[in-house]
Amino acid sequence: MPREPMIELKGLRKSFGDQVLYDGLDLQVFPGETLVIMGGSGSGKSTLLRILMGHLPYDEGSVLIHSHELQDFSRRELNAWRLIVGVLFQTGALFNSMSLRENLALPVREHTDLPEELIQIMIKIYLQLVGLRESIDRMPSELSGGMKKRGGLARALMMQPRMLFYDEPTAGLDPVSSAQIAQLILDLKKKMDVTSIVITHDMKAAFEVADRMALLAGKRFHLIGTPEEFRTSKDPLVRQFVDGLLEGPLSPQSDQQAYEADLLHRDTD
C-alpha cells in the first residue's frame, strides 16, 4: 500500500551564520509510525524539531506537511499544525510562573471551552500517566530535571495531539522512569495511533520504541532504516554510534592537529 507521508523533508539546508548545520536532509515520516532520530550532541536534532514546528526558518529545500510547504503556511495554518502536534522540549519548558496544574490547564483553557471540572480530571489523568500526580501543585522550580521533563510530556498530551515530538524523553531519568516513558510512547502509538518523532541517545529506549530509525551525522542522514537494519549494519559509523565505541569515524582524530596548533598558537600570543 503506497502511503502518503505526513512529513517530508527534501534537500533541507540550515545554517547559523557561517556554521552549516545540515545540507541535503531527506526524510519521510509516515502516519502511525514511530521514527527515532539519533545523532551526536550538537548535530542539530533539536534544531530539526524547531524547524518542524515552524519556530525556525530554513535556508533551502522543503519541509512538506501533508504535501504543503511549511514555510508558506499562513498564521492560521501554522497554528492548526501546532495544535495537532505535541512537543516535549529537551528541558521540559514548563512555564515557571505557574504550578504544574496551571501548566497543564493553560493550553486546554486557551483552545477549548471544556468545563473546569473536566480539565481538572484530565490534568490528574495525565499527571498519573507520567507519575507526577502527587506534585500537582508544585512550581517548576520545585521539580527535578527529570520531573520537569515528565511534566512537559503530560502538558503535551493535554491537547490529545495526533503527532508527538519528543526531544530526549528519557535523558536524565532513572532506569525505571525511563522504561515507563518508553512504555508510554508505545502505548500512545498503539491506543491512540499517534505518529511520533523521538530524538534520543538512549539506545535501549530507541530500539524499544522505533519502527524506523535515522542517524544524523555529517550534515545529513547517514542511514535511515529499520531497527533490524541498524542492528546488523556493518557501516563503521553506525556501529560506533549504536554500540558506543570509542574508536571510529565519529572520533575527532582529524581535529588532533588543529587542536595542537591551536594550543601552540595561543601560547605564543
Partner: protein
C-alpha cells in the same frame, strides 16, 4: 560577542532592522488589544492575568510615586514662593505647583517610577521566559505570545500609569499644601482654591493623555527588549538595564514632542 561583531559590520542596517522589528511588535500588540477584549476563545485576554499584572506593577510603584510627588510639590512650593513674594503674589504658588504638576511632573515622574518597577520587571520576566524556551513552548501550543504576554502587560501599564498620575498629582498638591500651611500662611482651603483657579480641564486631560502614551511606551519597550534577549542570564541582565535607560530617554523625547504639539495647539 556575536551581536557586537555584527553591529560593527553594518550598524545602519542593524539599527533599521531593529526599529522595523519594534514597529512590527507595536503594530501587532495594538492590533491584538481589540480582539482580546471582545472576542472569544483562542484570542481572549486572560482577565486574571491582567489583574495580576496591574497589581504587580502598580502596587509597588504607588508608595514611591506618592512619596516622590509629595516631595516635588513641596520643593516647587518652596522654590517658587520667595520669588513670587517679591511681587506680593505668594498665593500664586499654589497655581504654579498645580500647573507644573498636572501638565508635566505628574505623568513624567510616575512614568520614571513605573519604568523602574514595572518596565525592568517585565523585561526580566519575559527575557527569562525566552531563555527557558517558554516562548517557544507557548507558540508550540498555538498560543500567541503577543496576545498572551504583551497585551496584558501593555494594558496594565497604561491603566496603572493613568491611575498613578492622578494619585501623584494629588500627592504633589498635598505636598504643596503642607508647605503653604507651614511657611506661607496659606491654609489648605486657600491653597486648593488657588490651585484650581488657573487649572483647566485641558491641563488635566493633556497630562492623562501623556500618561497613557508613557504607559504604552514603557510596556512595549520592556516587552520588546525582553523578547530580544539572547544568551542566558547575562542577556537578561543586559536587556533589563537597557530597558530602563532606553525607556527614560524615550519618555523624555516623547514628552518634548507632546509639549511642542500642545504648545502650538495652545492647549
Amino acid at each position: 560577542m556575536k551581536a557586537g561583531r555584527n553591529l560593527r559590520k553594518a550598524p545602519m542596517r542593524q539599527t533599521i532592522e531593529l526599529i522595523g522589528e519594534f514597529g512590527i511588535l507595536l503594530r501587532d500588540s495594538v492590533a491584538a488589544i481589540g480582539p482580546s477584549l471582545f472576542r472569544g476563545r483562542g484570542s481572549r485576554l486572560s482577565w486574571r492575568n491582567l489583574w495580576l499584572q496591574m497589581n504587580r506593577i502598580g502596587i509597588d510603584s504607588l508608595p514611591i510615586v506618592i512619596l516622590v510627588m509629595a516631595s516635588i510639590g513641596a520643593i516647587l512650593a518652596m522654590q517658587m514662593a520667595p520669588e513670587l513674594a517679591k511681587f506680593g503674589m505668594v498665593p500664586v504658588t499654589a497655581e504654579v505647583v498645580a500647573l507644573a504638576t498636572f501638565r508635566e511632573m505628574g505623568p513624567l515622574v510616575s512614568a520614571v517610577v513605573l519604568t523602574g518597577f514595572g518596565g525592568s520587571a517585565i523585561a526580566a520576566e519575559i527575557g527569562t521566559m525566552v531563555v527557558g524556551e517558554e516562548i517557544e513552548a507557548l507558540e508550540a501550543h498555538a498560543i500567541d505570545p503577543v496576545r498572551f504576554l504583551v497585551v496584558p502587560r501593555l494594558l496594565a501599564c497604561i491603566v496603572m500609569m493613568v491611575c498613578l498620575t492622578v494619585v501623584g498629582d494629588l500627592a504633589a498638591i498635598a505636598g504643596g499644601m503642607l508647605i503653604g500651611g507651614m511657611f506661607l500662611h496659606l491654609n489648605p482651603v486657600q491653597f486648593y482654591e488657588h490651585a484650581v483657579k488657573l487649572l483647566t480641564v485641558g491641563d488635566f486631560v493633556t497630562g492623562l493623555i501623556k500618561a497613557a502614551v508613557f504607559g504604552l511606551e514603557i510596556s512595549i519597550i520592556a516587552c520588546f527588549l525582553g523578547l530580544k534577549v539572547r544568551g542566558g542570564a547575562q542577556g537578561v541582565g543586559i536587556n533589563t538595564s537597557r530597558t530602563v535607560v532606553m525607556t527614560i530617554v524615550a519618555l523624555i523625547i516623547t514628552d518634548l514632542f507632546f509639549t511642542t504639539i500642545f504648545f502650538y495647539l495652545g492647549v
